[in-house]
Amino acid sequence: MAYVAVKGGERAIDAAHAWLAEARRGDATLPELSLEQIEQQLGLAVDRVMAEGACYDRGLAALAVKQARGDLIEAAFLLRAYRTTLPRFGASLPMDTGAMRLRRRISATYKDLPGGQVLGPTFDYTHRLLDFALAAGGTPPPAPQATPDGEATPRVTGILAQEGLMAPEAPSETEPPDLTREPLSFPAERPLRLQALARGDEGFLLAMGYSTQRGYGNAHPFVGEIRMGEVAVEIAPPELGFPIEIGEITVTECQMVNQFAGSKTEPPQFTRGYGLVFGHGERKAMAMSLVDRALRARELGEEVDAPAQSEEFVLYHCDNVEATGFVEHLKLPHYVDFQSELEKVREMRATVFREAAE
């Protein structure tokens, strides 16, 4: 009996997957999407999949987007699964985002900051009206170019730190914990939290960050600086014994500046929330920096009473691959579990009715 059911299931699954492949391709009279087209024209989807898949490779992320039919959480899942098939060669030296080749750099705290406000390719200031010209297609005119003035672009946090108004980051070269190697444990120190947030779900972090602004957590944030561009990645392979550059990657960084009333040991000053994500992911970087700051409540001696300030709540629920696994497993067969529930509820009902009748 059980055997027959398995055979039947197998055939149905094969047919379902064949249909999935057909549905993925869509109308076969239309040209098929190439990975290059996805990489180039759906670049922000590719970036999001790399960030949440925690693996930087534009080509693989584009393939995942194609295979997942544009379902970006499924695509991140595919990328995470693929990365487990690859050996780990080592870790990079910490990247210097201060030396980023900037495509975008803005500050909401200083208008005339050294190096200026560089808008880059942004949706900001667009009117969010559907552009029907895009439906017709065509090549846009080339973007204007200007001669760079070569002005240095120091970090805004550095400008505040010079005045003593910004809590400095303690210099450290401690080997950071890695949650791909050891499971999360609490209390989680900041490097572990930042790793979890960097691969966390954008939607979840956005909602959590938003909650801190609406009063769940005592946040008064300002965007000190957002920068997006290319940073060099260096490793020091043991066979060479010195650092070499292995290429560059695109990242988005957000320094969120927050008021801090001070504590028994610290004077009133600004503190920072930090966001860093693979690719061009400004919303994610901003949300991450809000949540990072909220999660620092414990170490800064602030009250911990809002969801965004709870390490366990945020870190256990921010990973969309884990979350989707646990939520979606509910649709897999639970026939035996449910049978026992069924019997239990029937028995409880019988008891209640019997007692009512007595």
């Binding site: 960030a51 925690a54 693996c55 930087y56 490779d57 080509g59 693989l60 690859l86 050996p87 780990r88 060669f89 870790a91 990079s92 910490p94 990247m95 985002t97 080749r101 495509r103 975008r104 208008k111 005339d112 200026g116 808008l119 880059g120 973007a143 204007p144 170019q145 200007a146 001669t147 760079p148 946090t157 550095g158 980051e169 210099p171 450290s172 401690t174 080997e175 950071p176 791909t180 900041r190 490097p191 572990l192 930042l194 790793q195 960097a198 691969r199 060099a232 990645v233 490793i235 066979e239 060479l240 070499i244 550059e245 292995i246 290429g247 560059e248 990657i249 990242v251 960084e253 860093l276």
Partner: protein, 137 residues
């Protein structure tokens, strides 16, 4: 190494066509693709943290003259990694070095600088010039 890491295999091969031939080489390791954990710093300048992994391809070769070359390049381009390792070996030869620098490395570096400059020029065009800057100060 940085220049070869930023150039794809086809671009390196195209440059090598115009260069004196590389000595024959045997593979010691790879080319093989794996992962490197990319690290950032909290707050941009504090303690390191693990941002996420990236694909990296590495290759080590020994050429006919006994020189060993290593390469690690971001991405999955095995041809790039192998050519970079062979060039790493050949560039250690003081006789070959000047011609290879001239025919391969310098043109690749120039092309990369040009692309970077074009990007910087686009960014510069989006730099906000506040009209009130002089009077506000």
């Amino acid at each position: 190494m940085g220049i070869l890491a930023r150039a794809d295999g086809a671009a390196i091969a195209a440059r090598l066509d115009a260069a004196p031939p590389l000595p024959a080489a045997t593979r010691l390791r790879g080319p093989e693709t794996g992962l490197v954990m990319a690290r950032g710093r909290q707050g941009g300048d504090g303690a390191p943290f693990n941002l996420g992994e990236m694909t990296v391809t590495r290759c080590s070769v020994r050429d006919a003259e006994g020189r060993v070359g290593h390469a690690y390049v971001a991405g999955r381009d095995q041809r790039q990694a192998e050519l970079a390792a062979r060039l790493d070996a050949a560039l250690q030869d003081p006789v070959r070095r000047p011609a290879l620098l001239e025919a391969v490395i310098e043109p690749l570096a120039a092309a990369q600088a040009e692309r970077a400059a074009a990007m910087a020029a686009r960014a510069a065009a989006t730099k906000v010039q506040f009209f009130t800057m002089q009077t506000m100060r």
